[in-house]
């Protein structure tokens, strides 16, 4: 699919550190894109360039093939990591103001605000000041403000931090619905596990550099280690010509859990055949690497000098 947004060799340096050193990305239209990496990797710097809060020192951002310009602001919705609204302003007026700043007409904005407040069941709060709302309701208002002008690109920085589980689920459903309506969504987060099941494509960023990007399925396949998880009763041989038992844990009543890595050319059915003869199999599945694991492996391979601390 054609990319809605392309970053071409983007560089950005601040007084004391380099935030982005030559990052290139392509975000396919209509997909959910995960911009992943630890804190301080450069994600927010890249987002601020895309949202035109700051400019890149070098390189270029293209929106649907055009060089990014202020005309694109109306097509981008942005939920920053730092959430905030005018506390002493009424919910309805605030949404109207933010929508108008994004180029929506007063009449359109009013109609859509009504629709969204109904959808989130906070219609009766439209006339209240933001400071009188509960935190959860403020989050809903913030999300509405992000998507009210029906942007084709929605950027959510740390989307689920600060949202309680109920609101987080509500937001997830809304995001999927927006995607179905054709919007492209960028998730930027350091909590990779929180978004990995939703992302179609990802880019991993570490220390101002992109370390990996592509469709998530392809990346997973690429990082598969031909390892299988086995659960059952009995005991596995530790040495075998076809595979290696990487780990084996004994559990109560003769149960066990093991991770088994196949040697090259050995197929999972070969292992299964052996297992059926040796133990009573209760579960057998391929071990899929998590994005977090992929990230750590990738950083170890490519940038061993920047050994990552724990990426929670």
């Amino acid at each position: 699919m054609k990319p809605i947004l392309e970053a071409i060799d983007v560089r950005k340096a601040y007084a004391n550190h380099v935030a982005l050193s030559g990052v290139s990305l392509a975000i396919p239209e209509g997909s959910i894109f995960g911009l992943l990496g630890p804190n301080g990797a450069g994600k927010t710097s890249l987002i601020r360039i895309i949202t035109q809060i700051t400019g890149a020192d070098e390189g270029e951002i293209r929106f649907r093939g055009e060089r990014l310009n202020p005309g694109h602001i109306a097509q981008i919705g942005y939920l920053p990591e730092e959430r905030g609204l005018y506390k002493k302003m009424k919910v309805g007026e605030q949404l109207l103001y933010l929508a108008q700043l994004r180029g929506l007409s007063r009449a359109d904005a009013t109609a859509r605000i009504k629709q969204w407040l109904n959808r989130f069941e906070i219609k009766e709060w439209a006339g209240k000041n933001v400071e009188d709302l509960s935190k959860g309701m403020q989050q809903k208002v913030q999300f509405i403000a992000t998507v009210l002008h029906e942007p084709s690109l929605i950027i959510l920085d740390e989307p689920f931090s600060g949202f309680d589980p109920i609101n987080a689920n509500l937001i997830k459903d809304e995001i999927l619905r927006l995607k179905q309506e054709g919007a492209t969504i960028i998730f930027s987060t350091h909590r990779m596990e929180s978004v990995e099941e939703m992302c179609d494509n990802i880019a991993l960023i570490n220390r101002s550099r992109k370390v990996l990007d592509g469709p998530i399925g392809v990346i997973r396949d690429q990082f598969k280690t031909n390892t299988y998880e086995v659960e059952g009763r009995g005991k596995l041989l530790v040495v075998h010509p076809d595979f290696e038992v990487v780990e084996q844990k004994e559990r109560e009543n003769g149960h066990f859990y093991a991770r088994v890595q196949l040697h090259a050319g050995v197929r999972p059915n070969d292992l299964l055949r052996y297992l059926i003869g040796a133990v009573e199999v209760e579960a057998f599945r391929e071990k899929i690497p998590s994005i977090n694991e992929i990230f750590i492996r990738r950083v170890r391979e490519t940038m061993p000098e920047t050994l990552v601390e724990e990426t929670t």
């Binding site: 809060i53 981008i76 506390k87």
Partner: protein, 462 residues
């Protein structure tokens, strides 16, 4: 984009104007001002109207007492009894003092006249008594040299000084230092207050946006420059609305309140005059009261007349001031000064995280403002063409107040033009600096900012 700038200004304006505090303040201040004005007028008039009564014990044999002329402010009455009795008597009668003229007083060299007063004797009171005595003695002396009373009356004349200033073309104009200085002072105070009150509001507004963390959402829609200027202009509109309402309401309140109070006073005096004529039980007393009333009435009416002519005079003098130049200059310096300082206040709000940290940056901004006000009303008002006045009215940080003080006194055209030119350069400069600080500062959290840091921000790339 212009429309976004307008949206921002509109929001700043509407959210502030609709606040309860704004409405209360807008209504309360004119009432307070009007009340204060009435209060001052009351005190001033009571100060004028109260008559000091001074008793006179004349042992000199020169009949000085009969020559002491009473005025509405000072009335002389003969004392009774001996000196010792009189000393006690005037206090008992709640009179204000006692003049003692000892026997054997020499007309040519009257030494030894004593004045006893209750408590401390004010200079003003002593001066008035001395004046009356001097006049009495000079009358005595002149009469001794052979002039009749009639001749004496004709000799006396009253001089009212009318000051006339000549301008360069030789045109004459009534000059009234009080009206000119008053105008200068009022204009300077208006600019000073406006910059201070609304400049601080700009700073607070930016601080609020920063602390409520809405800044990033805003900046993804609006350019920082538009956001800053929108805020400055929106708040300027708030200030103008408030000043305009204050002006209108003060005028309204005083034009309602003052006649109301004046009317009550008039009714009181009418009542007072009506009473004695109705109950003329003792003709002696009634006559004396009525003459006293007459005296008082004529006094007040005369006073009223002078007040009225005084007011017309004041208008006339005001009309003689270079009104066009003053108005034009006031608007320029009002807006220019506000923009210049407003941008700096905005930058301070953007640079700091915490309102309590604003102090260190506030000082260098408020200092020239306070300085120009203090020096303005103390030095420039007295010497509006001196070197201090000239230089302070050229420097953009002080010119909004300094030049406005000079305007009513007349300023050479080239100085005005140069000053305005420098002011425009000045505010373009501060807005540029402020916009750079603002742009970096609004997204900077959790960092204690120093002047060195601010200097670096100027040169950050977009």
């Amino acid at each position: 984009m212009a429309s976004k700038f307008l949206l921002v200004a509109q929001r700043e304006y509407l959210t502030r104007v609709r606040k309860r505090a704004f409405i209360v303040l807008t209504l309360a201040v004119p009432l307070l001002l009007a009340g204060f004005g009435v209060f001052i007028a009351k005190i001033a008039s009571s100060d004028n109207e109260s008559t000091d009564v001074v008793e006179v014990r004349d042992d000199s044999g020169l009949n000085v007492a009969s020559r002491l002329v009473s005025t509405p402010q000072l009335r002389f009455e003969p004392a009774t009894g001996t000196l010792a009795e009189a000393k006690k008597g005037f206090q008992k009668a709640k009179h204000d003092g006692l003049i003692y003229l000892p026997s054997g007083l020499d007309v040519e060299n009257p030494v030894g006249v004593q004045f006893f007063g209750k408590g401390n004797i004010s200079l003003k009171k002593q001066g008035a008594v001395e004046n009356a005595l001097n006049k009495a003695f000079s009358d005595l002396k002149m009469q001794k040299s052979g002039l009749s009373q009639e001749q004496l009356d004709r000799l006396r004349s009253k001089v009212d000084l009318q000051a006339i200033s000549l301008d360069e073309t030789g045109k004459e104009a009534d000059s009234n230092a009080l009206a000119t200085s008053g105008t200068a002072y009022a204009l300077a105070l208006a600019i000073y207050l406006f910059i201070f009150i609304y400049g601080v509001q700009i700073m607070r507004g930016v601080g609020e946006e920063k602390s409520s963390r809405i800044m990033e959402v805003m900046l993804s829609s609006v350019k920082p420059f538009d956001l800053m200027m929108g805020k400055i202009m929106g708040i300027a509109a708030v200030g103008l609305t408030q000043f305009l309402l204050w002006g209108l309401l003060s005028f309204g309140a005083s034009s309602v309140l003052v006649p109301l109070l004046a009317g009550r006073d008039k009714a009181k005096t009418e009542m007072a005059t009506a009473t004695p004529s109705a109950t003329s039980a003792s003709p002696d007393v009634s006559q004396s009261t009525s003459t006293k009333m007459d005296q008082a009435m004529s006094g007040t009416s005369k006073q009223g007349a002078t007040v009225m002519t005084g007011r017309f005079k004041a208008f006339e003098i005001l009309a003689n001031l270079p009104i066009g130049t003053i108005l034009f200059g006031f608007i320029i310096y009002f807006l220019g000064g506000y923009l210049l300082y407003g941008a700096l206040f905005g930058a301070v709000g953007a640079a700091v995280d915490d309102q309590t940290d604003t102090q260190q940056f506030m000082f260098p901004i408020t200092m020239p403002l306070i300085l120009s006000y203090i020096v303005g009303v103390s030095v420039i008002l007295r010497n509006p063409d001196g070197p201090v006045a000239f230089w302070m009215s050229m420097i953009p940080f002080t010119s909004p107040i300094a030049m406005v003080i000079r305007l009513p006194f007349g300023v050479p055209m080239w100085q005005l033009a140069l000053s305005i030119f420098l002011l425009i350069l000045g505010f373009i400069g501060t807005v540029w600096v402020a916009a750079r600080i603002y742009r970096v500062g609004v997204l900077m959290y959790g960092k204690k900012v120093t002047y060195k840091e601010l200097g670096k921000w100027m040169f950050y790339k977009g």
